[in-house]
């Protein structure tokens, strides 16, 4: 039986920021299909890991493979690979001088030769999928935080990428908007057959939709397994993170202290 290559594979990866190792000895394999939650406290290196997956940050050591291909060094090849990766950024990154529909149409207009009429219909379909078809002509400044996040989600899905990466998708959202976003992520992942990686510190909202969980703390992966196993873990590091205890093996303000030292 032939197995499809993993959606993401990291082998003995080290990631540096400002000459300091943020993550070391990272071995990670994200299988195709399903939702993987990458959890960890603020400053643990989750966003650094995300930057490595999208090729924004080169690994100082080890190899990073995405969709069965080692991340290319050449800019053109990297841009080509990125067409297969949809990224929902924490700050949404919606272009403020374009309408909602123009934002969603942007990747389609740039990377396809589809006629304008077809692109318009595709845009409306994507907006319909996130429940915002009626907001097509609004500008990003006219949207609430939750709506803007959903528009950014529709734009990230515009090219039907097989891999979706979500960077802190719940930051700044109220509980209802958070629930809407998480159920959208789960529904779209199942209906479109995607592989999703959610990088977040919102444990309790994310674990119910995740098939797999990875916990990063103190510069390494401290847990990898199912959400159920995570909840049952007796590891003091994991327990401290899950229960939000101030004292324990994870140092509060670890990054600030390391930089001050």
């Amino acid at each position: 039986m032939i197995h499809a290559p993993a959606a993401v594979r990291l082998t003995d990866v080290r990631l540096d920021r400002g000459g300091r190792a943020v993550l070391e000895g990272i071995d990670l394999e994200v299988p195709r299909g399903g939702i993987t939650a990458v959890l960890g406290p603020s400053g643990s290196g989750k966003s650094t890991l995300l930057a490595a997956l999208t090729g924004e940050l080169d690994a100082s050591a080890g190899t990073v493979e995405v969709l069965g291909t080692p991340l290319p060094q050449r800019k053109r090849a990297l841009l080509e690979l990125r067409k297969g990766i949809g990224v929902l950024l924490q700050g949404n990154g919606l272009l403020t001088d374009l309408t909602v529909a123009e934002n969603v149409a942007l990747p389609l207009r740039t990377h396809t030769t589809l006629p304008a009429v077809v692109i318009h219909r595709l845009v409306l379909m994507k907006l319909h999928a996130v429940g915002l078809r009626a907001a097509a002509d609004l500008f990003p400044r006219e949207l609430s935080g939750g709506m803007a996040r959903r528009v950014a989600l529709a734009r990230a899905l515009a090219l039907d990428p097989p891999l979706m990466i979500y960077d802190e998708p719940l930051t700044g959202l109220d509980p209802i908007a958070s629930g809407v976003i998480m159920s959208l992520i789960a529904r779209l992942n199942a209906s479109l057959g995607l592989t999703s990686i959610i990088v977040t510190h919102h444990v309790h909202e994310t674990l119910p939709v995740a098939d797999r969980a990875i916990v990063i703390a103190n510069g390494r992966i401290v847990f990898s397994g199912t959400p159920h196993a995570l909840q049952a873990s007796a590891d003091p590091l994991v327990r401290q993170f899950l229960l939000g205890e101030p004292d324990g093996p994870i140092a509060f303000d670890a990054v600030a202290r390391a930089e001050a030292a």
Binding site: R82, L94, T110
Partner: protein, 250 residues
């Protein structure tokens, strides 16, 4: 700033300029963006160009008349006006007004795009941010600053005509014929156009460079905006000397 850091910064700016030129493929999207930018940074700059031009024309007329009247040469007032406007004041003052109005907005817009993840998002969508956000602004400046210079000079001459003929009482025929005889279409008018295009491109590149590389914070954007205005203004004044020395040797 050390010499090494300054050299490195200059090298980066040079590479950035090359990347802007490389990213200037004439696609449909590019022309759409270019049109939008010409309206934003060109058409919206017209009011200050008009007002600025008119007052420069008025003050040149006032001072020129006072000085020339001592030598009985007031009929040469429009000669003084035309040559000083087309050769130096028009291109330079238009560029400085453009930097204050549009250069600062280019730096602020790109700085805010950086701070609000828009530039990162473009890169992650496999869209070259320089091609999408910088190249249209650069070419819009190259196209609009010469046109704005023409408007600046026209408003200055019109204001000067009103003052010289209808307030001071000079002869309208002398005013226009001296102007026509002294200003050469190629040596003065087209050279002013060329200088303006260089100044517009310089202003846009400097503003885009500092805005694009701004710290992704509100303070970073503010610093970039100030730096764009100061650096671009100084470069325009320096380039004006170099271009004048090269173009007006006769």
């Amino acid at each position: 700033m050390t010499f090494v850091a300054a050299t490195r910064s200059l090298g980066r700016a040079g590479l950035f300029s090359l990347s802007v030129l490389r990213a200037s493929a004439p696609t449909r999207d590019f022309f759409t963006e270019l049109t939008r930018e010409i309206y934003k940074i060109g058409a919206r700059s017209l009011p200050i160009i008009a007002v600025g031009g008119a007052f420069v024309g008025l003050v040149l007329t006032l001072q020129g008349y006072r000085t020339l009247s001592r030598f009985g040469a007031t009929n040469s007032l429009s000669t003084l006006l035309g040559l000083s406007l087309y050769r130096e004041l028009g291109p330079v003052l238009t560029a400085l007004l453009f930097i204050g109005r549009a250069g600062s907005s280019i730096a602020a817009e790109l700085g805010l795009m950086r701070a609000t993840d828009q530039i990162t998002a473009l890169g992650l969508m496999a869209i070259d941010p320089v091609k999408k956000a910088v190249a249209p602004r650069f070419w819009a400046a190259v196209i609009t600053v010469p046109l704005l210079t023409a408007f600046f000079c026209s408003f200055a001459i019109a204001a000067s005509y009103l003052e010289a003929v209808h307030v001071i009482g000079l002869d309208a025929g002398y005013f226009w014929s001296a102007l026509k005889d002294s200003v050469d279409f190629v040596d003065d008018y087209l050279v002013a156009f060329l200088k303006s295009a260089v100044f517009g491109g310089t202003a846009a590149l400097v503003a885009a460079y500092v805005g694009y590389h701004a710290e992704p914070t509100i303070e970073g954007t503010s610093i970039a905006t100030t730096r764009a205005v100061v650096n671009a203004s100084l470069l325009v004044l320096m380039f004006n000397f170099v271009l004048s020395a090269l173009l007006f040797r006769s």
